[in-house]
């Protein structure tokens, strides 16, 4: 038996929480599914304070924002929350199979908002699979959610925001960070984050990369070296470092398998992190009533994910006939927020990615 529902939101990170609230506020009935036992996605491990304006929870820490939004979602009479529930696949006629409470359930939503987020990229070098080498997000989860440190001395690869923020959080947890290694000639992280770790004495090696990891059964050390402008190692610049943890923070890839299954037109956009769906300016994909929001739509950050969630939620509700009166006003406000977040040099990558996406044709397989 197929259960018919109004709006299905997949994923309860910043985008999914806001999408649920946005749609439910207009009167639509929302089912929010989350594969983890708790709501909040990756917000729950973010201990740093957010930037932006009051609407974007500036000066609040990520895990506090997660608590606040999760409570709003749980208390909302129009939202049904299913944790420990994984989407297994998308079938004909928009039927979605869920695994929940050890049962497989089929549902047929009138609209879907995909807010599945992203997964971490890996980096290839000899022994890159040794235990002790982690995604930066994994270290953040282990440390900030479960209170367990990954080891004693950590080398970080990547001086973007995640690499630098997680380095700082490692220091806060009492773990040594002898080096941050960045392949680009400059630090990608916001200045405020990078200067914090520099003040605490962590050297940031720009134009450097990891050549190899060493260790028998677990990581014991690494060799890293300077690279030239063609990204080739500079002879004689090799350095050895004894570390029991190597943390990889070299970007994320959107999790969009369900959109491929649903037949959405997709394009490969490097600036957005990989394959992303073609979509309208209200985040509706090429399949009507399937929306995307947050990192699944292109790698950005949590504040933008929240606004995208709101836009997708409002528009999905509108498609079902809810909230016609206030839609334009709400949409305009959200668009202003998003434009603000994407302005300036920090928004350059996302702006060029979105521009490329708008010009691109479908990539077919």
């Amino acid at each position: 038996m197929v259960n018919k529902i109004e709006i299905l939101v997949i994923g309860s990170g910043p985008a999914g929480l806001k999408a649920s609230l946005g749609a439910a506020a207009q009167g639509a009935k929302v089912t929010l599914v989350e594969r983890d036992p708790f709501l909040g996605g990756q917000l729950v491990k973010q201990t740093h304070m957010f930037f932006g304006s009051k609407e974007q929870y500036a000066s609040e820490r990520g895990f506090k924002i997660a608590e606040k939004l999760s409570r709003e979602v749980e208390d909302h009479p129009k939202i049904r929350v299913l944790c420990n529930t994984a989407v297994l696949g998308c079938y004909e006629n928009g039927v979605i199979a869920l695994e929940t409470k050890e049962k497989v359930v089929a549902i047929q939503p009138q609209a879907i908002i995909l807010a599945t987020g992203a997964q971490e990229n890996t980096l290839m070098f000899p022994n890159c699979d040794l235990p002790g080498i982690y995604g930066a997000g994994a270290v953040q989860t282990l440390m900030n959610v479960y209170g367990v440190v990954p080891g004693c001395r950590v080398a970080m690869v990547g001086a973007g925001n995640i690499g630098v923020i997680v380095s700082y959080q490692l220091l806060q947890a009492g773990v040594g960070v002898p080096a941050i290694i960045e392949a680009l000639p400059h630090i990608g992280a916001y200045h405020v984050h990078a200067s914090k770790v520099r003040r605490m004495g962590v050297p940031i090696y720009t134009s450097h990369t990891v050549l190899a990891a060493h260790g028998d059964e677990c990581l014991e050390g690494i060799t890293f070296a300077e690279i030239d402008k063609d990204r080739q190692p500079v002879a004689g610049s090799e350095k050895e470092l004894k570390v029991d943890v190597l943390c990889i923070a070299v970007g994320l890839t959107p999790l969009i398998e369900i959109l491929f299954q649903a037949g959405c037109k997709m394009a490969f956009i490097p600036e957005l992190g990989g394959h992303v769906p073609l979509r309208s300016d209200t985040l509706e994909t090429s399949v009507s009533n399937i929306f995307v929001a947050g990192d699944a739509s292109g790698i950005e950050e949590a504040s933008a994910a929240m606004v995208e969630g709101s836009i997708a939620g409002l528009t999905a509700a509108l498609n079902l006939g809810y909230g016609k009166e206030s839609y334009q006003e709400n949409l305009a406000a959200a668009r202003r927020e998003l434009a603000g977040l994407r302005s300036g040099p920090a928004g350059e990558k996302i702006r060029s990615g979105l521009a490329r996406l708008a010009r691109s044709e479908e990539v077919t397989y």
Binding site: L130, P131, A138, Y146, V148
Partner: protein
Amino acid sequence: MRILKHPILTFAKGKKVTFLFNGTEIEGCEGEPIAAALHAAGIKILSYSRFHKRPRGFWCAIGNCSSCNMRVNGVPNVRTCVEPLRAGMVVETQRNKGIIGGEFGE
């Protein structure tokens, strides 16, 4: 190793329970992921790769990458980075693709 003091966070921990890791009794906190409890006890090797038998540890911590798949209570391919720890669990390093009813297949 567990974080005992943190400038921002406090960790609400479940009660102490014991479980078996490859036959050895280990202590962890109920409800935390199995792999977190193993990490706290200094155990980093969770599985071995299928063909080359290379050791595998924790990679993504969000149930995506299968690096942490282990046999738990006889069930293979349990994603231990997200599976909550319960008292008395029998946790084993996995060395193959996972065979249901594995006592005949390991």
